[in-house]
Symmetry: C2
Subunit: 448 residues, 2 copies
């Protein structure tokens, strides 16, 4: 894929600078020490879910594949590294030829995860793998945090559609990724045109309070909008007096008015009043969209209200209290020498004070109970027990540097819905709790 | 400035799709209704600071100027809008010629702000101004949230330098903006190479646990790093046993070892022990860098510890609990007709249930007490009182579509330090409280 295919509004000529400097200085040190070529296994995992959350959602995998494919050090980047004396000439020369040539396995995008789940596994020389740490974590930590919030909101919304409207509350490009992650988590559409362009997500939007205020009266504004967008449009009815606005809206658009939007006030109360008023005016098919500071709890509290759709902004793009996942990228095994036949040695940080890891290259499988419901996330090294062989979670994503697992976003979205449906029902309770299934570790014979 | 000058790793051919769809449908409605040309004033402000915060920090202004200059609808974008039938042909034709030709005033970047501060004011036709809502808010809301956290952390750190290390915890491009905002807020450097490239922020970094684990022993790893980066490097000493690592580090690098980094454990305790050990080994000039899950409170709690520098990641890039500012972009005045001589009419949303605004084009000034310390943020419409005339906060940023206020980031950083120093001392207390100065509204005669 050419970098141009990454799409507007941003063309990324290279992802190679989405990198912490220490990755390059480690490379330099390893090249000099003769250890850069040791075969290595890095894994992405999290030690814990955000406090109170029952499951995590893997999102961003597709973006990681794009980033790895476009991780190249062109002349502009090399010039910068040389001029700033970040690494020496030998390292610059090595970087100039960089192409990831290893293998990446991972949980398929949309899958759920738990503490310790080996969400992604990157294998190759130490040199080629160590450089990918930051860009992989940036993407997975951001996108998974948003998708997890989206998933909870979509559980709470049930069959009612959710619109992603948070672009204005986050970095302009994080917003595009957030709209994508929200779609994976179950949202139906986005207000963000860049996300529509880049990922073909359905886009929606009609008008803001400014449109009403621009005109000499609310009636003029509604007339202008209906003239322009037709009677099936959504009119915003809370600029002045809601009841008067609803009356005017139905007068202007007729009882076939598509929808009204309520963006402030006591949504539960206002939605009931507006529904009653619309029905009395004969606009029984007119829908009600609410959009004011919603999160999963507010959505759930409106379950019994006559609301047809939700627009969610701030709380979606900020992960509803958890704007990042805490995934890390750790070396878990490496060869004892650069000999290609050298066996892998499991490695792990061992100091006291937390942040310890489990060494060794891991597999993972989800064990089901007699009813087919997930009962444990089993993570192990060595041989996979026969009874779990067909429940394994990691799939190949990149083979010998070639991306082999691109897939449409709708497939990912459906996978997430299915994965969530396979968890115990309490997974979708919004109340705080432990991970809905435990993680069990199995240490196999071969150790790596 | 050409779009190419926006710099790697991302070339933004256009910012025009960082836009919520409703801005385009409002444009279409206004074009059809004949109201699109009404002179309009939009203002960016926030109704409240994040809960407990004493002041806000304006950041992102420079990025807004880039975004406005590059807000163009090229053929690829127009094709998308046409194909998806987002707007009609007349609107597409209007968009094809879009260049912002109005004026933008704002608080200079780095300045502090309070509830109601008119942080930015955009004036021009309704059509040209309404389109900029999302991209302006995305940038200011994200960058200001990060800068506010950075400012609190730099207050807490005093003279000790702060390193931004959060790229892996946020979207890969949000990370670049976050490093920039952190620098504005008082950080000294970043680990993010893209931020070094794009904004010329000093970059730092040496090694991670993976480098130690790659080698056959900690000693081998330290030797490899010192061979590569010299004895002035920073060695990471908490992979296995800290005391043993410190001893090995000084043996390998000699007492002129630059620094050691501690990334886990009880930092207060470990820092004291490591300092004592270093001193006993004669490495009295070796500095101690700590980097484990720090926020402004943890930094403050280490004030008496023998720590020389702090590296901050997650809590910086997530705004230390407040990952977004709540700035809005509201129409506050517009002409009664498209006649260029038509006077401006103040406008504001008026429904009950919160989210009301103050209409009219505003000025702002910071009133000082007899000691020269800020005592009130005065926001008004109409004439500026003579005694506040030279304390006004808004400066011209764009004039007739031309950006006139680009400035180096160091100027912005110094401005923030000066602005914060001009606040009452309690501004820098970390405890929760009200905004450190009140906002006073003055309604002048002319009303707009």
């Amino acid at each position: 894929m050419s970098t141009a295919d990454l799409g507007l509004p941003v063309d990324v000529p290279s992802t190679a600078l989405f990198t912490d400097q220490y990755e390059l200085t480690m490379l330099q040190g390893a090249l000099r020490a003769g250890t850069a070529g040791r075969r290595s296994v890095f894994e992405v995992f999290t030690r814990r879910l955000p406090n109170g959350r029952r499951y995590g959602v893997v999102a961003g995998t597709g973006r990681v594949l794009d980033a790895v494919e476009n991780f190249r050090f062109d002349e502009g980047v090399l010039h910068f590294l040389r001029e700033r004396r970040i690494v020496d000439d030998r390292t610059l020369e090595w970087l100039a030829g960089y192409r990831f040539s290893g293998d990446i396995w991972g949980y398929p995008e949309g899958e759920v995860y738990f503490p310790g789940s080996p969400i992604m596994r990157v294998e190759g020389s130490f040199a080629e793998c160590v450089l990918l740490e930051t860009v992989i974590l940036s993407i997975l930590n951001h996108d998974s945090a948003i998708a997890a919030a989206a998933s909870r909101m979509s559980s709470a919304a049930g069959d009612r559609p959710l619109i992603e409207m948070g672009a204005r509350r986050t970095h302009e490009l994080a917003a595009v990724a957030a709209a994508r992650a929200a779609y994976v988590g179950g949202f139906s559409s986005t207000s963000d045109l860049a996300a529509g362009f880049r990922y073909n997500i359905p886009t929606v939007g009609t008008s803001a309070h400014a449109f009403t205020l621009l005109h000499d009266s609310e009636r003029d504004a509604f007339r202008a909008q209906v003239d322009s967008l037709g009677g099936g449009t959504t009119l915003l009815v809370d600029t002045y007096d809601v009841a008067e606005a609803v009356r005017t809206a139905v007068e202007v658009a007729g009882p076939e008015l598509g929808a009204v939007r309520i963006d402030s006030g006591d949504l539960l109360l206002v939605a009931h009043r507006v529904r009653q008023q619309l029905d009395e005016l004969g606009a029984t098919g007119t829908k009600i969209l609410v959009t004011s500071d919603l999160d999963e709890y507010a959505i759930a509290s409106l379950a019994a209200a006559p609301v047809d759709a939700y627009g969610v902004g701030t709380q979606l793009v900020t992960g509803s209290g958890h704007p990042t996942a805490s995934m890390v990228y750790k070396l878990v095994a490496r060869a004892a020498s650069t000999d290609p036949r050298a066996p892998l040695v499991p490695v792990a940080k061992k100091s006291t004070g937390g942040k310890t890891s489990v060494g060794g290259r891991k597999w993972a499988a989800r064990r089901l109970d007699a009813y087919g419901v997930a009962e444990a996330e089993v993570v192990g090294t060595g041989e996979v027990p026969a009874e779990l062989a067909d429940r394994q979670l990691l799939v190949p994503l990149v083979e010998g540097g070639e991306v082999i697992a691109r897939e449409p976003l709708d497939v990912v979205r459906d996978r997430h819905a299915a994965a969530r449906a396979g968890l115990p029902l309490s997974a979708t309770q919004l109340s705080r709790g432990e991970p809905v299934i435990p993680t069990e570790y199995v240490h196999g014979g071969s150790g790596s």
